[in-house]
Amino acid sequence: MIHPIPSGTRDVLPDETREVRAITDTLRGVFERHGYGEVYTPALEYESVLARADMAEARPAYRVFDESGAVLVLRSDMTVPIARVVASRYATTEPPLRFCYFAHCYRGVRPQRGQPRELLQAGIELIGSPAPQGTAEALGVLCHSLDATGLKDYRIGLGDASLFPALMASLGVPESSRQGLLEALVLRDFVGLEHTLAEAGIAAEAAELLLEIPQRRGGQDVLTDVPAAAAEAVTGLRRVHELLEPAVADRVIFDLGLVRNIGYYTGAVFDVYDPALGAPIGGGGRYDELLGRFGRTLPAVGFALGVDRLHIALAGEERGTGALLAAATAGDPQR
């Protein structure tokens, strides 16, 4: 008899579990060595509590009622639950606080796309350590953990979530057009961005900048010659980069168009790319305002890795196959 399970979920059998366990054990070792204590939180939370965070695209997708009629949701990430833990359980503890987690999170899916409904995330949160030191520490832990798993060719895309909004504000983009432009950039729909700029009647010179700056990505040269409005974000990125140890700094690709589709990010944001996979393995960033929404204002930074994606990338690198591997070295401008 075959009994179905929901699409986007799966059973993990011993061969795979063994490999996944090896990855998570390695990550756990690195996280613990850097002083990040592991926490568990409930998969179910009150909707009213998680709603304090602005989750945008990643807001919880599954709701149930409990016996008293309260609405419970399945968590869609671990950053928001940990913000709740810090506000409730560490209300007076001296920062910085360091936590790591290995947890299943739940996302809505589109049918027939092979997207996971339940995904295992491994990550850290560093609470109470401001930019640039905190960001540099998180990036260091990120690279040390990936190195420890044996992943070789990964790169870190590093940008700043506040850069594009600051550009729009200083270039006189009317409030009413900003959301539409930001949405186009989140989708990296540069054609849509161009059309929306034209429709909004933005002056040609400003429109040019709003199109050109977010398409910049590469080495330190992309940080030069930026308009004044972007200077603060760019200086922040430089400071982070200066604090990185050389092996970590070498992994960084600056990406001035990087915006993540989760609303709570405030400053530096980053994604992890590997040529063996056509999609990011994970990512993170600064969320300096999220803790305040839960009642304990502290700057914070963190990242989450998709364990299954990391597993696929490791397997791809090992076999020498995978999405972009064939031409990756030839086409890589950084090598």
Partner: protein, 234 residues
């Protein structure tokens, strides 16, 4: 380094094929075999893979190709709903450039004479709409505040209103000839669609140099070598 900078490009067979191959020729790619052999799928020596247009986002999203060319209609149909339907995210591909050719319009059409869709809405409260683009059709009707029952068909959409299965269709048209020949009239223009250059998100970062260089060369091409016009018929 080859004319495509060592990148792999997904090229759509069908209406956008000629325009895309012309574009690749203008970039200096040797497209002789691509033009002459319509059974071959993989042209590894020139970094081209061919497929139907609606498969291009799939291969580019998976990273099997760094770049691809497909119609805006395909991207809209496979894309997200935006902020009105959270969680309905689109394909994870970047849209880099409007290539301008393959210009078509997505339209709502119904039988000539008094609009049967209006009558259905008035008397029955819902209009039935046949389409190959159920998401675009549903989104347009929802955004314009009309209740509709979407009937997805794979073949000639024009048949559905003529046989009374539906009151209207949503379809792509270049010249309107097929619609006219079937006694259908355009009631609304929904969106104009052209060929778009799309990129894999990871390739966009890891191969930034080659991709930006290709983009610059594409933008620098004179308008007349930017591919041929719209497909015939439709």
């Amino acid at each position: 380094m080859s004319a495509t900078n060592g990148l792999t490009i997904a090229v759509p067979r069908g209406a956008l094929f000629d325009g895309t191959v012309d574009l690749l020729s203008a970039l200096g790619l040797d497209t002789g075999e691509l033009r002459s052999n319509d059974r071959k799928l993989l042209f590894e020596d020139i970094g081209v893979i061919t497929m139907r247009p609606s498969d291009v986002p799939t291969y580019v999203e998976a990273g099997a190709a760094d770049l691809g060319v497909t119609g805006k209609d395909v991207l809209l149909e496979q894309g997200g709903w935006g902020s009105s339907h959270p969680g309905e995210g689109g394909r994870e591909v970047y849209e880099l450039l409007d290539l301008g050719y393959g210009r078509c319009t997505m339209v709502l059409a119904s039988k000539a004479g008094p609009d049967p869709a209006l009558e259905a809405l008035r008397r029955l409260g819902v209009m039935r709409v046949a389409t190959k683009y159920p998401r675009i059709a549903a989104r347009h009707l929802e955004e314009t505040g009309r209740q509709a029952e979407i009937v997805e068909v794979k073949g000639s959409v024009e048949l559905a209103p003529l046989t009374g299965v539906v009151e209207a269709i949503v379809d792509l048209t270049a010249t309107g000839t097929t619609l006219r020949e079937n006694n259908l009239v355009i009631r609304e223009e929904i969106v104009v669609c052209t060929a778009r250059l799309i990129a894999n998100p990871v390739a966009h970062k890891l191969k930034a140099g080659p991709i930006d260089d290709l983009l610059a060369r594409l933008r620098a091409l004179p308008a007349e070598s930017r591919g041929r016009g719209a497909p015939e018929g439709g």
